[in-house]
Symmetry: C2
Subunit: 344 residues, 2 copies
């Protein structure tokens, strides 16, 4: 296989975890898949950018970010002024797009991925925005250029969800799904079962870096809704925007509700669901009490689960325990390997 | 894609369910994958065999088996005398091998699959025997002939397990797994929780066709052990025979044990597990009490589960609810589609 040049746009927790995983797995990639690679471009939000056709030292780049230095110093060509100019000048074969999500427009990720595909690169992202706002366009573009648009890490981190259907469930029709897809709210509900009130649980989730300073995107169900929309768009072939999801967050769940559920052997969960009826789909994010005969019951803390109903397998569930940036990074790596290798 | 000829050896519940699924999905296969096919040979254990290069009417074949007629009448060439002669004379492109399992030798499935691969066919089976007794040999042979040896339906019916690792978890190293892989014993333990004693639960499992007349292969853990061996051989790359699995069945679990576990919020399960230590593996089948924080806890009746620990994703679990011959048939269909199509 020809040597492969990689460009990384977005070099926060996930981008850096990807760089570390690429270092750790480079011998396995060569030995098992005959893949050799060089990272020739890195673009960051606030720490500059670098293009070096001879290859950027990933350990050095991570270390520079750690000491808040600009990556501009690593560039051997004029430093690109923004993401698009980096993509246009990096001559990479694969773009990893990991800029922050914009729920409303999917930008700038959408433009980054489109430009990469137009230039003949494989386009891989952990960003939900362009999946919800550009799945059809980017998939069609990728196919027309003989390249791949993959995004495994956008739902349930690196757990195989999109590749599960794409690669292992051919000719299966997805009828519906139910799951727990937002880590922050599940952690908050789990903490409340141990006696914390809502605000204490939110503060705890913020203290360990799971919840953001403004946690409303999670608590009001927006993150869950965009994941539901991504699953419906890709796996059910039905165009659905996050705003079309019947959405209710967890603000109304009181400590008393939690304790009452516990007394009857149940647990409150923020349940994501969708169900096809003809050409339409009903999609919801809402708190529900689940009992111990459901695979959702044992899902604690930041763990996530999805239960798929298909026309060929009945119910099939996938659970991913305690994800983190390194599991998201693995989804990106898996997409990369699958994009450039034939079926094993 | 060129037209594909299929041969089916073994035409019991699974073989007939496959035939029905092939009929049901023929338009999807053509529309989504450009696959057109004809079944040109069917071999049965006790109802004869048929080769017809122009195609065998699957509905007619199923109907004849239902009325205990011999398929010999459908053959347009001299009726093959056994499985090997059917394979040698059928000129198929894909062999589906669904004869009954032989735990000790893997025969005659092993010979059937080897012969098919040598003749340039893809070889697909739901039979665990040849996986445990011939995985390396058959995989190597398949690779050397540019064909596939696939066997998704041998563990957890049609749920993606082998294809999960092969297609969606590239470069992942499997460290160990825990699961419930035998439906009969899980159904028996579930029934005992409702108050039945062991013998009553066994009788019930036999009455609905889940347990065999001699249920010892399930109850003593042999079926579970061969599935553990299949997973270890294929996914961990370590040669392991079913007899090497530290095996204990469920005969010693009393109604009282079940009730005591229930009182402490736990459930008895026949747990399959394996764990790698260097180049070696420790593999077990034994009854264990599991608590509600485990995904094994909610697994009731004939449902099965496996929880994988890898170096890249932490814990990843797959649950398949209430499998049957039609889900096993789907695993065979998925193998067929994956064998003949490039990555999507």
């Amino acid at each position: 296989m020809p040597h492969i040049n990689l460009a990384l746009i977005g070099f926060g927790n996930v981008g850096q975890a990807l760089a570390q995983l690429l270092i750790r797995k480079q011998y396995d990639l060569k030995n098992q898949y005959d893949i050799s690679f060089t990272v020739t471009a890195i673009g960051t939000g606030t720490h500059g950018a670098a293009i070096n056709p001879d290859g950027i030292d990933l350990n050095q780049a991570i270390s520079m970010i750690g000491s808040k230095a600009s990556l501009d110093a690593l560039s051997t060509v004029p430093v690109p002024t923004d993401g698009l100019s980096l993509i246009k000048n990096c001559r990479a074969d694969v773009l990893f797009e990991n800029t922050p999500v914009d729920y409303e427009t999917g930008q700038p990720a959408l433009d980054h991925l489109r430009t990469a595909l137009e230039l003949g690169m494989h386009a891989i992202t952990a960003n939900k925005g362009p999946v919800v706002h550009g799945f059809k366009e980017l998939s069609t573009l990728a196919t027309s250029r003989g390249r791949k648009f993959y995004f495994e890490s956008t739902v349930m981190d690196g757990a195989p969800i999109f590749s599960l259907f794409r690669e292992t469930l051919p000719a299966a029709n997805l009828i519906g799904f139910r799951g727990i897809l937002n880590s922050t709210t599940n952690l908050i509900l789990s903490r409340m079962e141990t006696g914390e009130d809502f605000d204490e649980a939110v503060t705890y989730a913020q203290s360990i870096g799971i919840a953001e300073t403004d946690p409303s995107g999670d608590i009001d169900g927006w993150d869950a809704a965009i994941k539901v929309a991504a699953l419906v768009n890709v796996l059910m072939g039905i165009s659905l925007k996050p705003a079309d999801v019947d959405r209710q967050g967890i603000r109304a769940i009181s400590a008393r509700d939690i304790q009452q559920a516990k007394q009857t052997g149940k647990r409150w969960k923020l349940v994501c669901s969708a169900r096809r009826t003809g050409d339409r789909v009903t999609a919801k994010v809402q708190p529900e009490m689940v009992s111990s005969d459901s695979p959702l019951y044992s899902v604690d803390g930041t763990t996530s689960v999805v239960q798929f109903e298909t026309d060929v397998l009945g119910l099939l569930s996938v659970i991913e325990n305690d994800p983190g940036p390194e599991t998201t990074a693995y989804g990106l790596l898996a997409d990369f390997i699958n994009a450039v290798t034939p079926r094993q």
